[in-house]
Structures are given as structure tokens and as C-alpha cells.
């Protein structure tokens, strides 16, 4: 199961298309996503930094403070750059700039962490 935190519906449509075959749930804000993680721990979180409400940094902070979410792999895909040291500090598995991302990057990350092939 992949939780995708992205508040731009254009990007949401994009993920839906290229990650067909994966079980996905979309969240437009971090508060709702964290609440959902209480119910079910995802195999992978794809996270944008600029979200409606708390930023992706706040979500990462929150996730890492819960033992059951601390090890969940997070892939940051954002227009905002994230410094290596910050990514390392939060244990972010991959960081992609939206301006340079390739669909194959997303598909590979989903396969690696969610364990399924995109359809």
C-alpha cells in the first residue's frame, strides 16, 4: 500500500496512471494522512513538501516520532529542494525534484518498497 501526499490533482492523476497495479491512497494534507497511518501502516509514503496545512517536513517529523511509522520508507517528490543532510536526518529513502523526475524513478521506487510491479 502506497500513501501519496500530494495536493495538486494534476500530479495525483499522473501517479494514478503510472502506478497502476499498486494499491494507492491519496491525501491532500498531512493531518489526514497521519490519521490514516494510525489505522494502517503503509509500505511506502510518497511525499510532497508543499501541502495544504502542515508542510512535508512536519509530516516527516510526526512520522519519525512514532515507533511504528519510524521505519516506513518515504520518497520525497517536490518542487522544493531538500538538502541531503535533512533527507538523511529524516531517513528519507529518495529525494526527487519534480522538474527532473522521470516516470521510471517513481515506478522503480514503488517496486522497491511496495514490492509490486506497475501494471
Amino acid at each position: 500500500m502506497i500513501y501519496i501526499l500530494e495536493d495538486d490533482r494534476g500530479w495525483e492523476n499522473y501517479y494514478r496512471r503510472i502506478l497502476k497495479g499498486h494499491e494507492m491512497e491519496f491525501f491532500h494534507d498531512g493531518v489526514t494522512a497521519i490519521a490514516a497511518m494510525d489505522e494502517r501502516v503503509p509500505d511506502l509514503v510518497i511525499l510532497d513538501v508543499l501541502l495544504t496545512g502542515p508542510t512535508g517536513f512536519a509530516v516527516l517529523n510526526e512520522m519519525r516520532s512514532y515507533p511504528e511509522l519510524a521505519e516506513v520508507p518515504v520518497v520525497v517528490i517536490s518542487s522544493v529542494s531538500m538538502k541531503d543532510e535533512i533527507a538523511k536526518e529524516y531517513g528519507v529513502a529518495r529525494v526527487f525534484d519534480k522538474g527532473e523526475l522521470m516516470p521510471a524513478d517513481v515506478i522503480a521506487a514503488a517496486k522497491e518498497f511496495d514490492g509490486k510491479e506497475s501494471a
Binding site: 495538486d8 490533482r9 494534476g10 500530479w11 492523476n13 499522473y14 508543499l50 519534480k98 523526475l101
Partner: protein, 232 residues
Amino acid sequence: MKSEVFGANSSVVVVAHELKAPLSLMRQLALSLDFEESVDDAREVGRQIVATSERALQQVNDLTRIARLDDALFEMEPVNPRVVCDEVIAELWQLFRFNRREIEIDYRNKRRLAVANRQLLYSVVYNFCLNAMNYGGEELPSRISVYDRQNKIRIDVRDFGPTVPTKVWREIKDGFVKKPVDIAMRPGSSGLGLYIAAKFANYMNSDFGLVRHRDGTSFYIDLPISGQLSLV
């Protein structure tokens, strides 16, 4: 919130970021065409690319106009606000559809003309609608209304998203909108569209403001009524 992400300086960075968003999306959509299985799906992606690029072009055009406000002649003329709103909706409906958003129309004004610059008014309404699209929820459609208010015609666009913080409301109310980041009121946006709207409203000597609701926000512009009768 924005300064945490963008750093203290920022108008240029914020504008660049805002323009990067549609460019990045268009690039991804174009790359994702390889994954489409049917011609219809590919056409749908093509339509989304066009709608996204038109939005970016509108923002670039608006920024150009802002740079020309001091020396350009944007003449005031009698304008039918309903026609301008209809044109904006016609332009944006595809983008609303791709974002799974709806907007409804509520025209209640007498058929009188307003005094405005048609091009600038179009941009104001366009940016109000874009803002509503970004922040409106999926449950309730945003609403564009035109109605008479004392001796003015008001156009307002109501959304049902997170309401605007009091600090930002005061900035807009007091006319302190100096740069995009000043009205980065709701995360996910630099407030560029509203900055543009505020600049154009000010140029047209119109009142620009917002009303905070418990469940969203209305942005409005009040336009003087023209003495010329509408023939529409």
C-alpha cells in the same frame, strides 16, 4: 510557513516556484504518454497538458502586465461583468475538471455595466477562480457570484477550503499586499494569483477584499457602475 520553505527573500523565488509547478507537471504528463494504452487516454493527457500550459501562460501574461502597469494604458471602459465571468469559466472548466473541482454560477445583479479594464478584470476573476480551484474541497462546488451592492457591482468567488488566517485577512483588508509572499496565506500557494488580482484591482480603483467564512473564503472585487446601459 513559506519563509520556512523558501527562505527569507523571496518574491522572485516564490514566483519562480509558482511557475515551475505547471512546467514540471507538463513535463511529467508528456513523459507519461508512453504509459497510455489507448488513444483516448493519450488525448486526455494531451488536453491536460494544454490546460496546464494555458494556466501558466496566463500567469506569465499577468506578470508582464504588472510590469507595464505604470506606463501602459489600460483604459477603463464599460464592461459586462457576467460576460467576463462567463469567459473565465469557459477558459477554466477543463482545468477544474482535471482537478475534480466544480464551480457554479450565481448571477443576481441588474443588467448594468461596470467601469473596468476588461483585460485586467478578466485576470482578477481568473485568479480568484484558480485560487478557489486550489483550495476548494471536493464536496462542495466553488461559486462565482455577481450582484449589486449599494452603488457597486460585486464579483465574488467563494470556496469551501481552509479559511484564511486573520493576519493575512488584515493585510489584504488594509491594502498591504506588497509582494506575493505577503499573501501566501494558505500553504501550497505563494499567493501569486491573489497578488496579481490585488495589483489589478488597485489599478482600476476598485475595492479588493475577502470575507472569511467558517468553512472557506470569498474573494471579491467591487466595481463602479457605468452610466452606460447594457444592451445585452
